[in-house]
Amino acid sequence: MNVMNEQKIEEAVKARMTAGTNEVIKMRGDKVTVHYGEKQALFDVDILIRENQVTALIGPSGCGKSTFLRSLNRMNDTIAGCRVGGKITLDNEDIYDRAIDVVELRARVGMVFQKPNPFPKSIYENVAYGPRIHGLTRSKADLDEVVEKSLQKAALWNEVKDRLHDAGTGLSGGQQQRLCIARAIAVSPEVILMDEPCSALDPIATARVEELIDELKQNYTIVIVTHSMQQAARVSQRTAMFHLGYLVEEGPTEKMFTNPDEKRTQDYITGRFG
């Protein structure tokens, strides 16, 4: 089983031996710590997130990768007793600064969750909600266009164009997750955070979402948390390995999967622990 895994991973890595040259830093974590009450969940994480690339966060359960992801758009604010230390910047602005409004931040850094969570409203309303609350469109025609474009970008348009006013919760799991991606895209974010977006999906739906992530990176910066090594290898350009609240290692995906610096990374990727 492990041998098969490694083969697959190597193939995937070789297939994308195309490292970008002119890289731009979109977000940066500088000595990021997170406490939940007394318990420290994240220790001094230093990381760079490059524009128009997919950064995968991997590591065993409870290692802090989701915690780190959620601190990138301050979703941790909603958890009682959660404190974030250090500095996280978006375009060189501290997102925990008083001058930055959390609502505005979340409009720039969108999020897709582990379990598809469409609103119990129509497909159209799901996608239109973001643009509507931010006042991004001036007319109904404008809004219709944004909805259509977002659904097209999320590769869902052809499947739902005839039933835009049916309930979003009536779609299949994979379609629901793409609807959630369309909903996130509709507010034109700069960064999209994805927290194990495929963990509730079957392999076919997973493949479609992965294809989608690959296309989306042309326009968006994507940070994805995943438990699947193959997925990290397939979709990401950079991979960060977390363990016990520490960032073990971060680097180009091909290097992380073929020749990591740390033994822990090697062991985790080959399935010896985790």
Binding site: N73, R106, V112, N117, F119, P120, I133, C180, A184
Partner: protein, 438 residues
Amino acid sequence: MTDITASSLPVAAPPARRDIGLKKRYAAEARFRMYGIAAITFGLVFLAIMLGTIISKGHTAFWQTTVTLPVTFDPTLIDPQNKRESDPSVLIKANYDKLAQQALISKLGIDAKSKPEVAKLKGFLSDSARIQLRDMLVANPALMGQTVTVPILASANIDSAFKGQVDLTVPEARRKVKDQQITWMNQLAAEGTLAEKFNTGLFTYGASSRPETSGVGVAIVGSLYMMAIVLVLALLVGVAASIYLEEFAAKNRLTDLIEVNINNLAAVPSIVFGLLGLAVFINFLGMPRSAAIVGGITLSLMTLPTIIIATRAALAAVPPSIRQAALGLGASKMQMVFHHVLPLAMPGILTGTIIGLARALGETAPLLLIGMVAFVANYPATPFDPATALPVQIYMWANEAERAFVERMSGAIIILLVFLMAMNLTAIVLRRKFERRW
């Protein structure tokens, strides 16, 4: 693959049966089911007895014995001095009892000069006949001198006798209904003059000392006023308080204390709220006594904890994934609550509200203390006028001795129960209608 067929394979021998206590387990389950059925049967039997008693005693209240008589508006009786052109008060003061009596005498064919017989007619028709005939003539003076067929209420005693509620084996001297009256009653009933008609008066009349002209009309209006006040006050304040406590307030000692106190308030006896209403609204703020506004506010205070608890439970039941989805898109907290959480919590909130309202509708004790236990014959035009409430009307009728009032009390209970059932049904329908799956 080899050619072993299924039949040629050896079959595993079953192991020795272990005693894993199956019989005991099934017996325990059967016993438990029996206890459950017994408990439900017990409850149902008492419910059936209660409803059966109320309905068997109360259904007759919806029918009222009426005597249909040709009444002649005789000018020589109403206006013997012929002054009505100059003095309109003659029409008000005239002896209308005599008119009704004359009509009854001629119908029964009694000798009008036989004093003892005429005396026995007293108490056959309701005293309300006087007011009824007066109002007819005042409204339409052209009736003077004409003969009109008028349905007149029989007195409460005759009504009870006609419904078979009077024990005729009791010696005549100890009965309110005399033998002669029974004979006349049967005579009129055989002619079809005296009959039971649907008792619309039960729904329209206010309080009265005469059972046949008393009804729950004023009480229903008073109760409706109070329900409207409770709905507006308790729903708005309750939902606003719950949203703040559940979604916005910091979770600390103070909010914990508030939460504990709200739960305690829900268990405070209603009479205590009545005392509060009396002390604060009537004695301190000087609001009118017996008024629906005070009752409504007092009942709102009593209903608030119920609504707050139900609303908070409904808000807490909305899945966190929906909140995260909204926040993740950059919705503000308020947008999250009002666009997503509140609509999803609506069925629970509505159910809690209607159950709270139903409890308020049936509440009596606090209303007694703020003076809503009053003899109110006129409809309250505004919530500031004296009024009474359905359960209080039941309480007042329960204190009356006459058989006809007992019947009306049971009738009023049926009306109250119908209102409560309608409200609970609405709660169920609303919940079904708004329920969404996610």
